[in-house]
C-alpha cells in the first residue's frame, strides 16, 4: 500500500534522512521505532509531503507522490496524524472531524449528511468525542485531543494512516488507552504506519517493525525477530 525507496530529506541543507527504505502492506500495522533525532518524524513528514524529499521515491498504491504538495498527497488517501496532534483549536470537535473528511465530502452544502456514517464510526470508537462534539477542540485535554487527531485521520477513509507519536505528552493511563485504540484500528483492518517512543508497546501491536538510526533503517523484522535481536533488545527493549 505504501512503499518508500531510498528516501533522502532534511531541513535547510542538513540531511536528516540518508536513504530510508520501508514498506507497509495493506491491512497491516507497521511500527517505526528509534532514538530521538534518528529521523522517524522526518520520515513521516517526507512521506506526507510536509518536507520535500531531496531524493528517493514514495509510492502510495504504486502511484509516485514524492514532490507533490502535502494537500495533494492527502487527497490521494494518505492520512497523516502529526506529532503534537495539531487539532484546529478554534474549531469544534465535530468541525475538526468533518475537515478530516475534506477529501471526499462536497465542499459546499450537504456534507453533513454524507459524513454521517463516518462520524458515527468515529464516535463509536471515541464516545468521549461525541459527548464533546460542540466543544472547541483547543479546550480538550491532551488525551482527548489525541483521540480527535486519530478520529480526524480516520474520517478521510484513508488508504494508509501515518500516526506520529500518539502517546506524546500523555499520562501513562491515557497512553494505555491510546494503544488499545490502535489495537482496535488493527482489528478493523486499517493500514497503519506508527511512530512510537514506547517501543515495547509498539511492537506488541505491530505486524512488522523498522528500527531507525541516524536517518536510516538499521534493523527490520517481525516483532518476534526483533525481540530476539541482541542489539535491539539491549538498546530499545532493555
Amino acid at each position: 500500500m505504501l512503499k518508500v525507496e531510498n528516501l533522502h530529506a532534511g531541513y535547510g541543507g542538513a540531511e536528516v534522512l540518508n536513504g530510508v527504505n520501508l514498506e507497509v502492506k495493506a491491512g497491516t500495522v507497521v511500527a517505526l521505532i528509534g532514538a530521538n533525532g534518528a529521523g522517524k518524524t522526518t520520515t513521516m513528514r517526507a512521506i506526507s509531503g510536509m518536507v520535500r524529499p531531496s531524493k528517493g521515491r514514495v509510492l502510495v498504491e504504486d502511484l509516485p507522490v514524492e514532490g507533490l504538495a502535502a494537500s495533494r498527497i492527502a487527497r490521494l488517501g494518505l492520512a497523516h496524524s502529526p506529532e503534537g496532534r495539531k487539532v484546529f483549536g478554534p474549531l469544534s470537535v465535530e468541525d475538526n472531524l468533518l475537515l478530516g473528511a475534506y477529501r471526499h465530502l462536497p465542499h459546499f452544502l450537504g456534507f453533513r449528511s454524507k459524513a454521517a456514517a463516518d462520524l458515527k464510526k468515529v464516535y463509536d470508537l471515541f464516545p468521549r468525542l461525541e459527548e464533546r462534539r460542540e466543544q472547541l477542540s483547543g479546550t480538550l485535554s491532551g488525551g482527548e485531543q489525541q483521540m480527535l487527531a486519530i478520529g480526524r485521520a480516520l474520517m478521510a477513509q484513508p488508504k494508509v494512516v501515518l500516526l506520529d507519536e500518539p502517546s506524546m505528552g500523555l499520562a501513562p493511563v491515557i497512553v494505555q488507552e491510546v494503544f488499545s485504540i490502535i489495537r482496535r484500528l488493527k482489528e478493523a483492518g486499517i493500514t497503519l504506519l506508527l511512530v512510537e517512543q514506547f517501543a515495547k508497546s509498539a511492537l506488541e501491536v505491530a505486524d512488522y517493525a523498522y528500527v531507525m538510526e541516524r536517518g536510516k533503517i538499521a534493523v527490520a523484522g517481525t516483532p518476534e525477530e526483533l525481540r530476539k535481536d541482541e542489539r535491539v533488545l539491549a538498546a530499545y527493549l532493555g
Binding site: S81, K86, L99, Y102, R152
Partner: protein, 292 residues
Amino acid sequence: MDTSVIIQIVVSGAFMGLVYALVAYGFQLTFATSKTINFGQGELVMLSAFFSLTLTRLGAPYWLMVPGGLLFGALLGLFVERAAVRLALEQKSEGWILLTIILGLLGFSSAENIWGRDDHPFPTPISSDPIHVVGVDITPLEISVAVGVLGIMGLIELFKRRTLLGKAFEAVSADRDAAELMGISSTRTVMLSYALSGAVAALAGILVAPITTVGPTMASALILKAFSVAVVAGLESGFGVVVVGLFLGGLENLASLYLGSGWREAPGLLLLILALALRPNGIFGKASIRKV
C-alpha cells in the same frame, strides 16, 4: 449645541464607520489565512469604484454593475496575491508589505492617468432624501450602506460556518500545516481569501462612492481609518470591526464638529497608535504564544 444635532452627526458618522468596518473586515479575511494584509487596499476600493462607474456609463443597470464591480475587485485581489504576497509567503519574508504598497501606488497612478485626477459623481438609483426616524434623519443611501455592509459580512460569515469550504478556510487560519494534511491546499485558500477581500473592498467602493464621489484620492483617508479599525478591533473578530467602526465613524464626526474638519482623521490615527500601546492584539483579539 443642540443634542439632536449632535446625535444626528454621530449617527451619520456611524454609517460611514460601517464602510471602514467593511474594509477592515477585508483585512481580517486575508490575515486569517496568510497573516498578510494588502497595504494597497485603498487603491483597490478606488479602482473598483472607477470600474463600476465606467460600467454604469456604458449603460449597465445597477443590478448588473454591482456584481461586475465585485468581480473586478476579486480579480484585483487575486492579482495582488499572485504578484505581491505569494513569493514572500514562500520565502517567509516580510517583503509583502513593501510589495503591496508598491502595487497600490501603481494602481493609484494608473487611475490618475486613465480616469483623470478629478472627482466624478457616482449615479445611483437609491435616493438621498432623508427619512425621519426617531428624531434622526436617515437617507435611504445610508440604509443601503448598512444593508450592503452587514449583508455581505453576514454572507461571508455564513459561508465560513455553514459550508465545508468555509470551515477549511478557518482550518487554514488555525493551523496551515495540519490543514494541508487534511487535503486542504493552503495556496488556494489564501487565493480565495484575497479574492473575497477584493470583492469586499469593491463593495465598499460602490457603497461609498455615491456619498464621497469617485476620484483617485477617494479612499486615501478611508483606508487609514480602516487600518485603525482593524488594529483597534484586532485582526480576528468580525463583530469587533463593526463595533469599532461604528464608534470611530461617530467619533470622527464629533472631532470634525468641535475641532474643525481638518482634524477628522486624527482620532482614528491616535486610536491606532494607542491601541498598539495598550492592547497590541486589539480589543477583540487574543494574545499569541511565542514558541521556540
